[in-house]
Amino acid sequence: MPEIVLSIRDLHKMYAGGVHAVRGVSFDVHEGESVAIIGSSGSGKSTVLRCINRLIEPTDGVIELRGEQINTPSADVNRVRSRIGMVFQSFELFAHLKVVDNVTLGLRHVRGMSKDEAEKVALEVLGRVDMLERVDAYPGNLSGGQKQRVAIARALAMMPEVILFDEPTSALDPELIGSVLQTIRGLADEGMTMVIVTHEINFARDVADRIVYLDHGQVAEEGPSSIINDPKTERLQKFLSSMHEDEVPEAIEKELVDGNTGYGYVPDGKGAGPRVR
């Protein structure tokens, strides 16, 4: 069994408003493994992910990165974050910086590299996500899929021990999803350790080594990707069948393929959709 990179023990999160979003979640992520977290909207997937790199403070529980607890006041939060990559649903590229500078920012100011060194690394990772042609573009002039690939490159450049994806494709038009999923699949094949929150059930099944199904802030079922074809619990069965009902009707799909887009956004209950300026 490979080493455990990330270990979550009995995680609880109670939001200020009294919403008990996560109630005792535990799971492990092993070296080189990709874990997909699935679950219905509001089940606490994003909350778990954001607790892991301490964008929010868990109310209770233990999170360990390579055996070392990271959710204590004494842990160096900036160092922890630089070891964990994060890819957001709404990309969150730095709008005032060129693509290449988006990637070099962390290298230069966190890793302390010189401009030249950082650019070398940046070009290398941008090559891996197939974004070499647009290194001098500003994020505002990129397509959604390109933005998300740059965001992945930005996380990759920091050489994190694990990358967290929070619904990386749900803000994308359907025809742009493919390229991003392709990139993530490539990383999985390279043996990157990843935690992916996704609504793309098929993608989860194909790419993830393990599936964690969250329901009402609890792990309702956990197992190898085969559980999608063969769910053990009733709740997962129900969830999966609802996902199938949700699938885009053929008529609309045709429209989408023809280019009348604007449908690919799935609300995540927080209202943080793609921002139109």
Partner: protein
């Protein structure tokens, strides 16, 4: 269809001129308005010839009490009782030439060429004769009652005191030409080969001072005060020393002579009449006047028919006095000999040209002064604005800060603070005057000692806070721990500055806090005397300048803070999360991610604030800073040209604000992020 119609309309269409050229045009208009007009102007002499009743050469002049005396060849003596306007005969003092004279308090001494000293001790006393027994004596100085110092050829120095002659000749045996004292102790003697000798014990011992030019023959010296010593050489050089004791001497680089070190004429006498005014005299009808310690020397025009060699001045004050010369010439002045411009006696300020001739310097000075405080005010205001905005958006609460400490540590801190608080309370209260609660006015009695009251208030606050610390529970759930101290501080600051009138802030900061003075003293302590020009003076020579910058900056910062804070909160929270997720610190993300975007957003509203700052800078006149509006008022005070003065001031303000707006628009264009925002362009 403007392009289709040729002619004047197309050429002068304002909107077809690009904005850069518009500035140039406006600035040139302003300049054209303020270029001095050439005008017919005539200059007359400031000297008048008076009758001396002699044709003998007059060599020396000296003030004695309210009288002025002149002495000349063959023992000639004349005196005047009306400042030199009319002259009386006096019987000759011997028949040798009288060559030099000096006075101190009530004593006067005249040196005759045969070595005899004629002295008068007391006003209207009789002349007494003292024989020095020397020949070749050139200069004399009175150093007290019954005491003189004389200098002469081959370095001869003799001191007469206690009714005895003492030989004080030094080893420097160049010919000495003149001696001058400031009071009765400090003196200077000058002579050939750049010789300068100084004494500080009334003439008993003399020290050599390095001369700036070892070839000059120094003929006359004046010891005005311990910081102002001047001398002239026969080759027209002006030497000066500003070091007490005359230790260092320099040659004046004369501005009016293209910074040459000589006036290109022979000089025989120098007379320093104020700390800046110097009169020069020389052979061949040379009389000169400098109003700035010899930097600029203007040659005096002489009355018609006078072209003699001048030998000595005697000035009652810095305007009234005489100069004497060969062939019995005495010239009188009541304006320090200054050339008089006629033709502008009563300028007609109704004539715009003449008004501008008078006002342009003032306007330009005001313009520069305004630009100075505006530039520094903007820099300071923006910095303060950014800092305040960051304080206001900082998420740090007491809870964040204290979380890492155990409950017991926090309680300990509370106990410690409460002791400090109680001490402050106690000291504050003990400073209150005895409370006599009789009538309404006594309610305010505690305010009688502001420091006591401040201590009382601070103590109360600290005690209140520390009680919550002492009562802290494990989760730090008390209301105090939700307080964000940085935010509160910034809020107090902005509330204060935005809810009081700027004009009162100006007066409070300048006269109340005396901020300008304090900064100036601090800078003086660190960098030394600011002097009267140069970079030091620019930065801390003027207290009102410092106060004005800080008032404008502090005030504008409070307003800019809100604008910048608005822009910061307009940046999606995901940007902060993204920055933090790659490991940047909070401040790092602020600096590298949030602020660069926020400041771009708020350039237009910040521009408004900056224009406001320019307009508000006019209030600096209340503390006496001579910016544009104050200069406008001064212009009106002398010219009464209200329309033109305020008109020019207004155009000047417009030029400043408009240029600023243009710079900001350019900045907005160049910093625009491609693909972001609908801004249409300017």
């Amino acid at each position: 269809m403007r392009t289709a119609t040729p002619g004047i309309e197309r050429i002068f269409s304002w909107s077809s001129i690009d904005s850069k050229s518009r500035v140039v045009i406006l600035v040139s208009l302003l300049l054209i308005c303020t270029i001095p007009q050439s005008t017919g102007q005539e200059t007359i002499t400031g000297w008048g010839e008076v009758e001396s009743w002699t044709d003998n050469d007059l060599n020396a002049a000296v003030i004695h009490g309210t009288n002025v005396w002149v002495f000349g060849d063959f023992g000639t003596v004349r005196y005047s009782e009306d400042n030199g306007a009319t002259w009386h005969n006096h019987s000759a003092l011997g028949n040798a030439d009288l060559i030099a004279a000096d006075s101190l308090d009530d004593s006067m001494a005249v040196l005759s060429a045969d070595g005899i000293i004629h002295m008068m001790f007391g006003l209207d006393a009789d002349w007494e004769k003292i024989d020095s027994g020397q020949s070749g004596i050139n200069g004399i100085a009175v150093t007290g009652e019954q005491s003189v110092v004389i200098v002469g050829d081959k370095g001869a120095i003799w001191q007469y005191t206690d009714e005895t002659w003492w030989n004080r000749t030094t080893t420097f045996n160049e010919n000495l030409h003149d001696v001058a004292f400031n009071g009765d102790q400090d003196g200077l003697a000058v002579g050939d080969a750049g010789t300068i000798l100084a004494t500080n014990d009334g003439g008993a011992t003399w020290d050599y001072r390095a001369a700036p030019d070892a070839d000059s023959s120094i003929v006359s010296v004046s010891y005005f005060n311990p910081y102002r010593m001047f001398a002239v050489s026969d080759s027209g050089q002006i030497l000066y020393s500003t070091s007490p004791g005359g230790f260092e001497w320099q040659l004046r680089e004369i501005e009016s002579m293209d910074y040459e070190t000589t006036l290109a004429t022979t000089l025989s006498s120098i007379e320093v009449v104020s700390s800046s005014r110097i009169l020069f005299a020389g052979p061949d009808g040379y009389l000169g006047l400098s109003l700035d310690q010899g930097l600029n020397v203007e040659r005096n025009i002489l009355p018609a028919g006078v072209n003699t060699s001048f030998n000595d001045h005697a000035m009652f004050d810095y305007v009234v006095g005489i100069v004497v010369g060969d062939s019995g010439v005495i010239l009188f002045t009541d304006r320090a000999g200054e050339n008089e411009d006629i033709g502008f006696e009563i300028p007609d300020y109704n004539n715009f040209g003449e008004f501008v001739e008078y006002a342009d310097d003032m306007l330009l000075a005001g313009f520069i002064a305004t630009v100075k405080i505006v530039v520094f005010g903007i820099l300071l205001g923006f910095t303060i604005g950014v800092i305040l905005a960051m304080l206001k958006t900082a998420p740090t609460s007491f809870k964040n800060v204290l979380e890492r400490y155990s409950t017991n540590q926090i309680r300990g801190l509370g106990a410690y603070c409460s002791v400090i608080g109680l001490w402050l309370l106690y000291t504050g209260v003990s400073r209150f005057p005895e409370l006599q609660l009789e009538g309404l006015e006594y309610i305010f009695t505690p305010v009688g000692d502001p420091r006591g009251f401040a201590m009382f208030a601070l103590g109360l606050a600290i005690v209140a806070i520390s009680i919550q610390f002492i009562l802290a529970d494990k989760k730090l759930s008390g209301p105090l721990f939700k307080v964000r101290p940085l935010n509160s501080l910034a809020t107090v600051y902005t509330d204060f500055f935005r809810n009081t009138p700027l004009i009162v802030q100006f007066m409070f900061i300048h006269f109340g806090l005396r901020l300008g003075m304090r900064i100036q003293q601090l800078m003086e302590g660190t960098f030394g005397d600011p002097g009267i020009d140069g970079i030091d003076y620019f930065f801390y020579g003027d207290r009102t300048f410092l106060s004005a910058i800080f008032t404008l900056g502090l005030n504008s910062g409070a307003y800019q803070c809100e604008t910048i804070r608005g822009a910061i909160s307009a940046i999606p929270s995901g940007q902060m999360e993204a920055g933090r997720s790659i490991g940047l610190t909070y401040l790092g993300t602020m600096r590298l991610v949030i602020l660069p975007q926020a400041i771009r957003i708020c350039i237009p509203p910040i521009g408004n604030e900056m224009v406001n700052l320019v307009l508000n800078s006019s209030l600096a006149m209340v503390i006496g800073y001579s910016e544009l509006s104050r200069q406008g008022k001064l212009m009106i005070a002398t010219t009464f040209q209200i329309f033109s003065a305020w008109g020019l001031v207004m155009i000047s303000y417009f030029v400043v604000t408009w240029t600023l707006a243009l710079i900001l628009r350019r900045l907005e264009d160049t910093t625009r992020i491609p693909g972001l925002g609908i801004s249409g362009g300017s």
